[in-house]
């Protein structure tokens, strides 16, 4: 049984469910809170050969996904525990964009034309009254609702 997930963006359900063992009993409401190492958490106290096989499958699936999405060249994992939405950075922090959780073509296009794409480095300048980031030599103000969809990995 597939766990029901809210706000998938362009992350397919298959991908998200790959990050946790299928557990009809415990369903996480927020994909953003997905803990990449959480295969174990989802099934606390369970051990044994079946779980080991499932975990192995999960690891291989993750590796496949990482290749598909093009993980950053540093070799660091695509899903570190520190994947944050842009809105959770501190002002002044620099971060690298991991993915943008929306299907909206127009929005993706507008962001990409300003340089906000996966792998781009940006610096958060302020959070109120809107999120303002600096990417390259361009400063961009982004509404909270959109900024929340931009997942980044802090560099500082």
């Amino acid at each position: 049984m597939q766990p029901r997930l809210s706000a998938g963006g362009w992350l397919p359900r298959r991908l998200l469910s790959a990050l946790r063992l299928p557990d009809p009993g415990r369903v996480s409401e927020r994909p953003g809170a997905a803990d990449p190492e959480g295969g174990g958490r989802g099934k606390e106290g369970l051990a044994g050969p079946r779980e080991a096989v499932l975990r192995g499958k999960q690891v291989r699936r993750r590796a496949r996904i990482r290749r598909r999405l093009g993980a950053p060249s540093e070799g660091s994992p695509l899903w570190p525990a520190q994947a944050l939405p842009l809105t959770e950075l501190r002002p002044g922090q620099e971060a690298r964009v991991l993915y943008i959780g929306t299907d909206d073509g127009r929005r993706l296009e507008q962001l990409s034309n300003l340089g906000i794409v996966p792998n781009a480095v940006l610096r958060l300048l302020q959070k109120r009254p809107a999120s303002v980031v600096q990417v390259g030599e361009t400063e961009v103000a982004i509404d909270f609702g959109i900024a929340r969809q931009i997942y980044v990995r802090p560099l500082t």
Binding site: W10, P12, R68, L69, D103, G105, R106, R107, L108, E109, Q110, L111, S112, N113, L114, G115, V117, P118, L125, Q126, R128, P129, A130, V132, G136, E137, T138, E139, V140, A141, I142, D143, I146
Partner: protein, 655 residues
């Protein structure tokens, strides 16, 4: 093409196609355009759109060439009117030369356009403008290497100081080179492109680019072909899309961006600099959540003062009272006295006369407001404060389903609603434009009205002021919110680039303003003439007094106002300030008790826009929409007024 007062005869432009300027927004294209053309500039809408395009004549190598300034775009292939217009101009006007104007410090964003131009097989010259700002940030670009890689000429300029413009003009004397900057996509996509290219009609220019656009699903690449070709292209696209999680267009964009990044990495370097430019600090201040507020209030206040008081007050008083009042109208009346036909006389100088009303209104009353607005707007535009203003007001506007960009028309509405309705063009979607237009017509009193309203309401005490302001603001937000729910279409995303703050170049500002004012006289003034002629006929046919009689029971019954109020409301439709002034007279003569005064003020604030505003809505949105808007506002204003009247009486609130 117009001559701005010069006595020289207009030279004929050369037969070659125009020189077209393209580039990202805020790179100084207009300044460069101004430097190249100097005179003979017109600003007009590209046919069928609300996008402004400036055209002028430049003197290149002794020849007169047409120069076209396109709207700033971040990508030639994105959907959206500005992008479509730029593409159309590039593809259909057969430019003799294209100048890609880049912001030197944001080279990668310009190179996205360069890659697209190369793909579209459009030869161009690259000019790295704002070189001074780049230098101030310690940025260094190896222009020779860049020129080699791209295969086109690269010119450095600082348009605001006129540097490098001669070199640019020189490079325009010969043919431009076609860039060899071809982006190679990944094998699967290249294969898809090859397959689509095989289906395209032969003789098409830039088939690779067209195929890529079709795969990306852009409407811009409309190609004449049979339905089965379209189907096969769709099949190829579907098959290709299945291999990628993201939309194909996005994948292609990103691969293009990656190619651009590699080029930039090779030519762009940055040293650390001791100090950030002052403009950066000021720019941060302007959007600071706390410190930005006083800046905002000062800016709005200055705007209101300039447009609302100087423009709508001083200038209008002068033009209406002196120029028209003492000279033109009496002369016209004297001249008209010679005409034996009574009807014709009235048509020209009567109560709804061509000269006395239409021209007076259009030239003496609206034009100064329009002119001062255009001036202020150009200053805000060129200084870079405008987008910061939008950031500051974004949150409250979101409550109404709009975003911060709508602040400008709303503020301008306090000066003149007709003008403000026209400026809704800066909004991205039709839904937002319609929503703001509705709110302007409904709840934003124009300066002519505001003065009289505040005059009357002052005498009613602070409670009345609060109630009036409260009712109008609540109506604004409530109707705004409901409209965003009910109107079809979508709002736009608030993703706003913040260019650095700069000192506006006055010559550029004046040039833009004058060109826009000319356009106004040509496009809007005729509206006033038509509208006045209509009113004239209605009056002649006795229809106006009939309307007055019909409306009376409503005015007296529901609103509890004396019968003379009906006439003031009617006049309010023709001239908003007349309506308010009529009420002022009633109040002064003691005809209205405080509650009646308050109710009538609320109604007149919420009431239908003045006639010019109505016509402007017709012009921008079509007659049906305009009638629908009016049909909503009429009863709604009365309802609110009636509710206020009944509530206040029921609760026994005294004033």
């Amino acid at each position: 093409m117009n001559c701005h007062g010069s006595k020289k005869p207009l030279p004929a432009p050369s037969e070659a196609g125009p020189i077209v300027l393209v580039g990202n927004p805020n790179v100084g294209k207009s300044v460069l355009f101004g430097l190249l053309t100097r005179r003979y500039v017109t600003v007009s809408n590209y046919p069928g759109t609300t996008v402004e395009v400036a055209r002028g004549l430049a003197s290149i190598d002794g020849r007169r060439e047409v120069v076209v300034d396109t709207p700033g775009v971040n990508s030639l292939l994105a959907p959206g009117e500005c992008e479509r217009v730029t593409r159309d101009i590039l593809m259909h006007e057969r430019p003799s030369a294209v100048v890609l104007v880049a912001d030197a410090k944001n080279l990668s964003r310009a190179l996205i356009l360069a890659a697209q131009l190369a793909e579209m097989e459009v030869p161009f010259i690259l000019t790295l403008n704002m070189d001074d700002e780049a230098q101030a940030r310690g940025i260094d670009i190896d222009t020779e290497l860049l020129s080699d890689i791209l295969g086109v000429e690269v010119v450095r300029t600082v348009a605001t100081r006129g540097l490098g413009v001669d070199a640019l003009a020189r490079s325009l004397t010969g043919p431009s080179r076609l860039s060899r900057f071809a982006v190679t996509y990944d094998p699967a996509i290249e294969e898809g492109i090859r397959q689509v290219m095989a289906l395209l009609p032969s003789g098409l220019s830039a088939p690779h680019s067209v195929a890529a656009m079709l795969l990306a699903g852009h409407d811009g690449a409309a190609v004449e072909s049979g339905p089965d070709v379209a189907e096969r292209v769709a099949d190829i696209r579907q098959g290709l899309q299945a291999r990628y999680r993201q939309p194909l267009g996005y994948v292609i964009n990103r691969q293009r961006l990656e190619a651009v990044r590699r080029v930039v990495a090779g030519v762009y370097s940055r040293r650390a600099v001791a100090r950030e430019p002052l403009a950066t600090a000021l720019g941060r201040l302007a959007i600071h959540p706390i410190a930005g507020l006083p800046v905002l209030l000062v800016a709005l206040y200055l705007l209101y003062k300039f447009v609302g008081e100087f423009g709508a007050g001083t200038l209008v008083d002068f033009l209406e009272g002196v120029v028209f009042g003492r000279y033109i109208n009496p002369w016209a009346a004297d001249l008209a006295a010679w005409i034996p036909i009574g009807v014709l006389r009235d048509f020209l100088v009567g109560k709804y006369g061509l000269v006395t009303v239409a021209l007076t209104y259009g030239l003496a009353i609206i034009l100064p407001v329009v002119g001062t607005f255009f001036l202020a707007f150009s200053l805000l535009e060129d200084s870079g404060y405008l987008p910061r203003l939008a950031v500051m007001v974004n949150r409250p506007f979101k409550a109404m389903g709009l975003n911060g960009k709508a602040v400008l028309p709303m503020v301008l509405g306090l000066g003149c609603d007709t003008m403000a309705t026209m400026t809704t063009r800066i909004l991205d979607t039709r839904k937002e434009r319609l929503q703001v237009t509705l709110l302007l017509a409904l709840a934003v009193p124009c300066s002519a009205q505001l003065g009289v309203i505040l005059g009357i309401i002052g005498g009613l005490g602070p409670v009345a002021v609060l109630i009036w302001a409260g009712v109008v603001t609540a109506t604004l937000f409530a109707v705004g919110y409901l409209a965003s729910r009910v109107l079809p279409g979508r709002g736009s995303d608030f993703i706003q680039e913040l260019p650095p703050l700069r000192l506006p170049r006055l010559s550029n500002v004046v040039l833009k303003t004058v060109a826009r004012m000319e356009w106004y006289v040509k496009e809007v003034l005729p509206l006033f003439v038509v509208g006045t002629a209509l009113l004239f006929s209605l009056d002649r046919l006795g229809a106006l007094s009939r309307i007055e009689r019909l409306a009376s029971p409503l005015v007296e019954g529901l609103l509890g106002l004396p019968s003379q109020a009906t006439q003031t409301f009617l006049m309010g439709f023709l001239r908003r300030d007349y309506g308010a002034a009529g009420l002022f007279n009633l109040a002064r003569d003691g005809q209205l008790d405080p509650l009646q005064a308050l109710v009538s003020l609320v109604v007149i604030t919420l009431f239908v826009p003045c006639f010019a505003n109505f016509l402007m809505i017709v012009k921008e949105f079509g007659a049906r929409t305009a009638v629908a808007v009016a049909a909503f506002i009429f009863p709604f204003a009365f309802l609110v007024g009636g509710a206020l009247n009944l509530t206040m009486r029921a609760l026994g609130i005294g004033l």
